[in-house]
Amino acid sequence: MSAPILELRNLSAGWGSAPAIREVSLTVERGEIVTIIGANGAGKSTTLMAISSILRPMSGQVLYEGADTASVAAEKLPAMGLCQVPEGRRIFPRLTVAENLDMGAYFRKDGDAVRHDMEHVFELFPRLRERRDQKGGTLSGGEQQMLAIGRALMGRPKLLLLDEPSLGLAPLIVEHIFAIIRRINEESDMTVLLVEQNANLALGLAHRGYVMETGRISMTDTAENLLQNPDIRRAYLGE
């Protein structure tokens, strides 16, 4: 069996001197959708930023496709197939929709294929096509989320990190976005690591899940089992 696409080994990382996540270990196999759920401030976003090499491990390792990323600069990762949709979307507000998408393909030199991929993104999110020359900052929240996902897809990721795509969006739009995540996972065989506070939705979509509490992984199981776990239901599903 080949190495998991992503493996964290006892990873500690943080923003100041104290680690915000401690000894986090997790694996993501190729083709899976894995979710990390947890309360505000649990350290989910910190984990993703460490995977993207924006934060450096204080101890432990990030293995991407079997190789330690400690010596890989953050800006090299998209070209290796690791792309992130950061929390709060973080699109470039004063660039147009098309320019934002272009930025997602910044490292790519295959112009024709990039144009083709942009068409594909427009097929997934037709609203973006209508607004292709509009400034990113003038889009609605849902459209910005579509743009953020589309922008990451422009890098043709093998592993897509998604940080709270449901944040602040109406249920209908969230459903639409989650359906598309499932579709790209199935059609393009793209592995997804999804961070969510909306545990119900996330566990409905994912194959497996990790629960994060105050910087540590407290539990891991298949999504179905987690959904049925009474502790999880009480803590994260509001029962």
Binding site: F92, R94, E99, M103, Y106, T138
Partner: protein
């Protein structure tokens, strides 16, 4: 009264009161007692200017609404013209300028073009890459002293020295940028301010090389070979000493800068700079090597500062540290901000406004900086994105919703 015009009225009243509070202590408190006339007249003039501007603006809106659109029609006609045509016309006007202008007008024009070059160079750093640089004039100084030293000690011609000045300025950009560009925002501004001052202090104290506060004398002007009609069209060496010649030289440098900066802004690199300006972390996540690109912005910006500096030193034939003070950095930055960050025509207009207008208002002399500061503040109230905002500067989502 609509809420919008009410808000505008409040702005104007607040602006007038504020301006008065700034101007009065300096003009009104005299050993002989208090005096209000001068401050009132300055505020009056400023407000009249603002009101006139607003009036024109309103008039235009009214005319627009009435379907009478001379400006739009003109703009359409201009845009309808093939770009080469209006560019050609503009170029012709620029080339004809020294022949129809007085000596004084030529001097002002030369000054404006130097600052256009500086403004566009700084625009790469501030407008495109979004790095606040308060020490930009250091690169102007590096260019000026590089040409001065090469000319005095090695008799190097201006044309050979020019690329060397650019290289030296770029190298200075890397040397200053490498340790500082890891910082963000306010910290970067403070540190660049410090480096700008360090350079000036070095120039002041490195007596053997720079002559200290006395500066360097004996710099050669630039020279070209032109056929001489009186000498059987033989090529003779002509020194570019006359204001006309200097005008054409700096015009060439400024045009080169305009073209380069436009190309850079439209390139992949320009897009990456904008992404860094908008959100550095997001840019890194997209695969942009943020540090290398910031360093590139810094050193390319420096290149144009260096070119302008070389011209300055060839024109003055004398350099001293006094020309490279913080106030110059502030001036160039003000042009960029006033004109509209990232917009080439805006910066040209900003340079015009800040160099040519004070010449027009010579009377203000002593209050120049005051009027200047007040103009900046009022500008920020009425046109926060600059006189001619860059095209791609749209409204941020937060603004759009408010």
């Amino acid at each position: 009264m609509t809420p919008a015009s009410k808000a505008m009225l409040t702005k104007i009243v607040v602006g007038a009161v504020w301006l008065f509070a700034v101007v009065w202590p300096m003009t009104g408190i005299t050993p002989q007692g208090f005096e209000f006339g001068k401050a009132i007249s300055i505020v009056g003039f400023a407000m009249a200017a603002v009101l006139a501007g607003l009036g024109l603006w309103k008039l235009r809106q009214k005319l627009d609404a009435a379907g009478f659109k001379p400006f739009t029609a003109l703009a359409n006609r201009c845009c309808g013209m093939p770009p080469w045509l209006w560019r050609g016309l503009l170029l012709a006007a620029l080339l004809a300028f020294p022949f129809v202008s007085s000596r004084y007008g030529q001097d002002v024009a030369i000054n404006v073009l130097v600052y256009v070059t500086l403004g566009l160079g700084l625009n790469i750093v501030v407008g495109l890459a979004g790095l606040l640089d308060l020490g930009y004039i250091a690169f102007y100084g590096v260019g000026a002293y590089t040409y001065a030293l090469l000319s005095i000690h090695y008799q190097l011609s201006f044309w050979l020295a020019l690329p060397l000045c650019a290289v030296m300025a770029a190298a200075a950009g890397v040397v200053i940028g490498y340790p500082t560009l890891r910082m963000r925002g306010d910290y970067l501004a403070i540190v660049t301010l410090g480096f700008g001052e360090i350079l000036r202090i070095i120039l002041n104290n490195w007596m053997q090389l720079t002559g200290g506060p006395n500066g360097l004398l004996g710099i050669k002007p630039a020279a070209v070979y032109l056929p001489d009609p009186e000498n059987g069209w033989e090529f003779v060496r002509v020194l570019l000493k006359s204001p006309e010649a200097q005008y054409f030289l700096v015009l060439a440098i400024a045009l080169f800068t305009v073209v380069s900066v436009r190309r850079l802004a439209d390139s992949r690199i320009g897009r990456a700079w904008e992404a860094i300006r908008e959100d550095e972390t997001a840019a890194a996540i997209m695969g942009v090597n943020t540090f290398a690109l910031k360093l590139l912005a810094y050193s390319l910006g420096a290149v144009f500062g260096g070119l302008a500096g070389a011209f300055f030193s060839a024109k003055m034939r004398f350099v001293s540290p006094g020309s490279f003070t913080f106030i110059e950095s502030a001036m160039v930055l003000a042009m960029v901000v006033l004109g509209g960050m990232g917009s080439v025509p805006g910066i040209v207009l900003g340079a015009l406004a800040l160099i040519a207008l004070p010449e027009v208002f010579r009377d203000f002399e002593n209050y120049r900086m005051l009027v200047f500061g007040a103009a900046m503040a009022l500008m920020m109230l009425f046109r926060p994105a600059g006189l001619i905002p860059a095209k791609r500067v749209g409204r941020r989502s937060e603004e759009a919703h408010s």
